[in-house]
Amino acid sequence: MTAIPLSHALVLACILFVIGFVGVIVRKNTLFMLMSLEVMLNAVGVAFIGAGSAWQQADGQIMFILILTLAAAEVAVGLALLIRMQRRFRSLDIDKLSQLRG
């Protein structure tokens, strides 16, 4: 067992997650939405690491590595789409993407 109780780590994770979630919902700029998503992913990572260290197993860190990989791929694709959006709509307002084509 570690000196830091699992519940504390999970509380931190929850707070960060909620902050990220609020950011996703409130911000109109797609870039900020992506950043808030990163915050959320990070919070999830905190939860995993906390759990892994509470049970003294490495699985938590493995999960965190996979999350990291996911975040990397997602950021790459997301930024590419953002670039396309900027070119097409001349703005990054997510509400401009509310119509299906045709």
Binding site: F21, V24, I25, R27, K28, M33, I94, D95, S98, Q99
Partner: protein
């Protein structure tokens, strides 16, 4: 038998041809088809009457097909029943109808909707023939409704004028009230007797109900309601003067000779039930008498020639009702026949006059027509003397026959006799007023005469004039039809023997009194030298002119409250209740479509809310 079966179908075929081929038929073809079909019907009627009178049988009946069958073993079939009563009716309808069709062919020659007009006229003849030949009440009701429909179509023939359409609508609605009463009567009759075949129902009623019984009272009363509507008697008489908005041949055929007599025919046909209810017969007599006086007074105040004749028709049908109410069945039907002759003559001649004066109908703007249109004037005079019932004319025979039976009748009496006498006086006064204003004196109308087709139109008029003058000599034998009534007359015979001797002389003298009175009172009309005659339709005269206040009464009693209710219910309360359904659906549509707005952040928030709910549910 085949002749009887085919009788109404010649005009029906003609109607279908004219309706189907429409404007493609030339005037000659249309006239040939329409007038020819009615001529065929007239000839068939004549042959049938000859057959009926020369055979020993008193009835010819033919069953065409079964229409439908009701419970209790009553079958309603398309069957025709020809006895003396319907024989008279088919002769009048097809004979006078033929003459009127012939006249109308020339009268309406220049109208662009000629084919439609003749089609409707033929349809009317079909419906009327079915009405008088029907052997069961449902088929009779079919004819009844058919004539109502044709009346509507023909009054509103020139539908581009709003006034005509309103008049047609008024006619239809007022007669509808009567029709509803009659329908209720039929329903009750079927419920109580289980039969709608006329002869069998009458027999059952005679067997099962007492004289003066409650059931007979109600059935007779409801049938009277129907008759009153169709025949324009009190209280449903307001539609007839307005119905003069239709073309003159229509007024002649429907509103003088035939349709308005349908009510009289109904009562005569159902006399078996009426005899079981002396109170209703009394009502019939009083309705007739009051209508006859009211219409006579109204006719005194009119300025339109056709309206005078319309009120005159109303008044004469009042005579027929009075006759039936008093139990003088044969006299009533006889008067129906003679009235058809002279009223058709009067209307058609009035039509010729109107046409000749370029559609001028106001008698105060006529005058001096005796010199300008001698033929028409003399024909009109012949019609009027029949109407007034001067001795020797057909009108005299029929009217005297009625008046003779009033004093001693158990369901009429001295008061009604006096009503009839005063009615005769008023009839002669308004007839003379009409004649003096329109035909005597000097012309107040400066325009030239328009006389195309006048000669050919005079032929049917001459035929009708001959019938009016000598039709009284036709002997009608209704003994087989009204056999039930003859039984009752034995008690009456005693009363008749004790009548005062001054009854007959007064009745015969009345028309002459009227003529003398008019000669003196309306002297300025008959000797007018071409100056304009003032016509003040104010006060009492104004009320009389407008149907003696009945139109005003009905307007305030029925029309205005109804319109008020319609206005209040503009948003239609029931419709709003049903619209709640739509409102509810639209509410949900609004709510649900708001969730599909395409915005990513909204969807993300929704997911978050869902997760919270899930977590909340799991935590609790």
């Amino acid at each position: 038998m085949l002749l009887l079966a085919l009788l109404p179908f010649y005009p029906l075929l003609s109607f279908l041809l004219l309706a189907g081929l429409g404007k493609r038929l030339s005037w000659h073809a249309a006239t040939l088809i329409s007038v020819g079909s009615v001529a065929l019907s007239a000839i068939s009627s004549a042959i049938l009457v000859y057959q009926l009178s020369s055979s020993e049988a008193t009835v010819i009946s033919v069953h065409l097909w079964q229409w439908f069958s009701l419970a209790m073993g009553a079958d309603i079939g398309f069957s025709f029943y020809l006895d003396a009563l319907s024989a008279v009716m088919i002769c009048v309808v097809s004979g006078v109808g033929f003459l009127i069709h012939l006249y109308a062919a020339f009268y309406m020659k220049s109208d662009e909707n000629f084919n439609r007009f003749m089609a409707y006229m033929n349809l009317f003849i079909v419906a009327m023939l079915i009405l008088v030949l029907a052997d069961n009440l449902v088929l009779l009701y079919l004819g009844w409704e058919g004539v109502g429909l044709c009346s509507f179509l023909l009054i509103g023939f020139w539908y581009q004028e709003k006034a005509n359409v309103l008049a047609a609508r008024k006619a239809f609605i007022v007669t509808r009230v009567g029709d509803t009463a009659m329908a209720i009567g039929l329903f009750i009759l079927f419920d109580w007797l289980g039969q709608l075949n006329i002869q069998e129902a009458t027999q059952l009623a005679q067997q099962n109900w007492q004289v003066g019984s409650n059931q007979a009272y109600w059935i007779a009363l409801l049938l009277l309601g129907g008759a009153v509507g169709k025949s324009a008697q009190l209280p449903l008489q307001t539609w007839l003067p307005d119905a003069m908005a239709g073309p003159t041949p229509v007024s002649a055929l429907i509103h003088a000779a035939t349709m308005v007599t349908a009510g009289v025919y109904l009562i005569a046909r159902m006399h078996g039930i009426f005899l079981l209810s002396p109170e209703v017969m009394n009502y019939v007599a009083w309705v007739g008498a009051l209508t006859l006086l009211l219409a006579g007074i109204a006719a005194l105040a009119q300025n339109d020639i056709k309206r005078v004749l319309a009120y005159s028709t109303m008044s004469q049908i009042g005579y027929m009702m009075l006759a039936l109410g008093a139990g003088a069945w044969s006299a009533g039907i006889f008067h129906l026949m003679t009235h058809a002759f002279f009223k058709a003559l009067l209307f058609l001649t009035a039509g010729s006059v109107i046409l000749a004066l370029h559609h001028q109908q106001n008698i105060f703007k006529m005058g001096g027509l005796l010199k300008r249109l001698p033929v028409e004037s003399s024909l009109f005079a012949i019609g009027l003397i029949c109407l007034i019932a001067l001795p020797g004319t057909s009108g005299f025979f029929s009217k005297e026959a009625i008046i003779a039976e009033l004093w001693s009748s158990p369901t009429a009496g001295a008061q009604l006799w006096w009503c009839a006498i005063i009615g005769a006086l008023v009839t002669s006064i308004y007839s003379c007023r009409l004649f003096f204003l329109a035909f005597l004196g000097e012309s107040r109308n400066q325009s030239g005469l328009h006389l195309c087709n006048a000669n050919r139109m005079r032929l049917p008029l001459l035929a009708l004039a001959l019938l009016s003058l000598f039709g009284g000599l036709i002997h009608l034998d209704f003994s087989s039809v009204f056999s039930l009534a003859n039984r009752a007359s034995e008690a009456v015979a005693n009363a008749r023997a004790n009548e005062p001797i001054w009854l007959h002389p007064i009745a015969i003298a009345m028309p002459f009194v009227g003529i003398i009175f008019s000669w003196l009172f309306f002297s300025d009309y008959r000797s007018n030298k071409g100056q304009e005659i003032p016509y003040k339709a104010t006060g009492f005269i104004g009320v009389c002119r407008d149907g003696v206040g009945f139109d005003w009464l009905y307007d305030w009693l029925l029309v205005k409250p109804y319109c008020l209710l319609a206005r209040l219910n503009r948003r239609d309360v029931l419709d709003q209740v049903l619209m709640l359904n739509a409102w509810y659906a639209r509410l949900w549509y609004g709510a649900l479509s708001a969730t599909q707005n395409g915005q990513l952040r909204w969807y993300a928030a929704a997911i978050g809310v869902a997760v919270m709910c899930l977590v909340g549910v799991m935590a609790l």
